[in-house]
Subunit: 145 residues, 4 copies
């Protein structure tokens, strides 16, 4: 996958830094490559649902941003990216010390880009367990205001 | 829709109170009826994405919990509810003073319940704009540990 | 919902007539209004899966075309419509004498239109049972070749 | 992935043979392994939509059956499998001489199994192009009647 925007990595980092929600939950960008982005989220007790698992909405928060930025790496400079829709399957209880959402572009288009993200829970033993998987559609909405 | 659990409303409130993520983002239960639940979230700058819209993951957080609890109102006493999967379409920029996720059960089953949620943005003029819609599947996993 | 194309109904009928698959399975257009389309499919033994229910792919065939044409009623004259994606929940066994897919536009946009379709099974007693529901995204791809 | 049912391959073949819709459209089982199933569908003019592409509902028909049978390979003997829900993204026009839906189990559970299917179009030059991708949930409903 060939990036059209030579400064795609810096542009993803800049945009990520402008997402206040990432700061609130403590997520950080951990990988930015053409068509692939990872976001890492350490466990925090205030992100959980009633059973002590990471809330599906927070699983979605990191998976969706990873999908959006994976799509964004392949868009022209000056683009903006928005989510059109996504679907998430929860596969196992989201329990772990760290969570990683890894998104990969399946098909990049001029307007729409289809992306998949896997969310892994990582424990102290470094075991990496797939806890959720997302399939979504991102749109390039042209230059930001 | 007939609730099997006479104390469904209190059980939803108790479970909601055990979701730390709801406290973190400032969401509250605003309606609990058989097969219908609403969650209300006031605007907060730290919940936004890079364009100043409510992050799709936070839209999902309130929509998913509303879906889960709408399903839960129709489950037997002592049940636990988990999300199997959901799909969210983002329809308009999620901008507003308050956001409301309203979930309604489409089909309640013994094991699986299918639910729809609409998420509205409400402005000072009380205009109510549909910004996202979710279709999801919830599972009854029996009595909690 | 205001149709931009005054001959939207005839254009939907013409396009439907150019879908050979509809003839193969025996489906017909039964309602075309701005933002709303219904497709009716009589029961046929050769459309079933292993349990004697209408195959989910055939449920999808009528639901998807109904969604596409519901979106198409609101597009400019000379447009073409394609499905971007859809999600279908199967709610009950698809058994009946006739099946009706009813699609309604949720949000019409210049490029993307979000549509919902309900699929009903109808029996001799005229009971109408919801057997599946779809949420999907359609795209306007400009004038056909 | 370890099959619980030693005769999983024959059981998939038997069930497939009881799906009349597969005969109608001309699809055949082309691979059955633990957790993986492929269905092959030769091009036919009567399966197309208005632009001459394979109708998304027929893409779904082979993808959904491939998902169901991939899940079925890992279920106990005497089980029945049904689709709970699926989501399909259309990535490119479905044009080709042959179409292959390849499904792989992502997570097998006692009740629910999550499966992914890719649908490829194959041309005379043997080029294999990804035209659609599905993520779905299958349920084991116990022994058939």
């Amino acid at each position: 996958m060939n990036p059209l925007n030579p400064s795609f990595a810096r542009d993803v980092e800049d945009s990520f830094a402008r997402q206040p929600i990432m700061k609130l939950i403590g997520a950080r960008l951990s990988l930015v490559e053409p068509g692939v982005v990872e976001i890492t989220l350490p466990y925090r007790a205030d992100l959980l649902q009633q059973n002590g698992y990471l809330h599906a909405g927070i699983v979605t928060t990191i998976a969706d941003s990873a999908c959006g930025y994976a799509a964004y790496t392949l868009m022209p400079a000056g683009s903006n990216v928005l989510s059109v829709e996504f679907k998430l399957n929860l596969l196992r209880p989201a329990q772990g010390d760290t969570f990683v959402a890894r998104a990969e572009v399946i098909k990049a288009g001029k307007t729409l880009t289809v992306v998949r993200a896997d969310v892994f829970a990582i424990n102290k033993t470094e075991e990496r367990l797939l806890v959720a998987t997302m399939q979504g559609t991102m749109i390039c909405t042209g230059a930001p205001e």
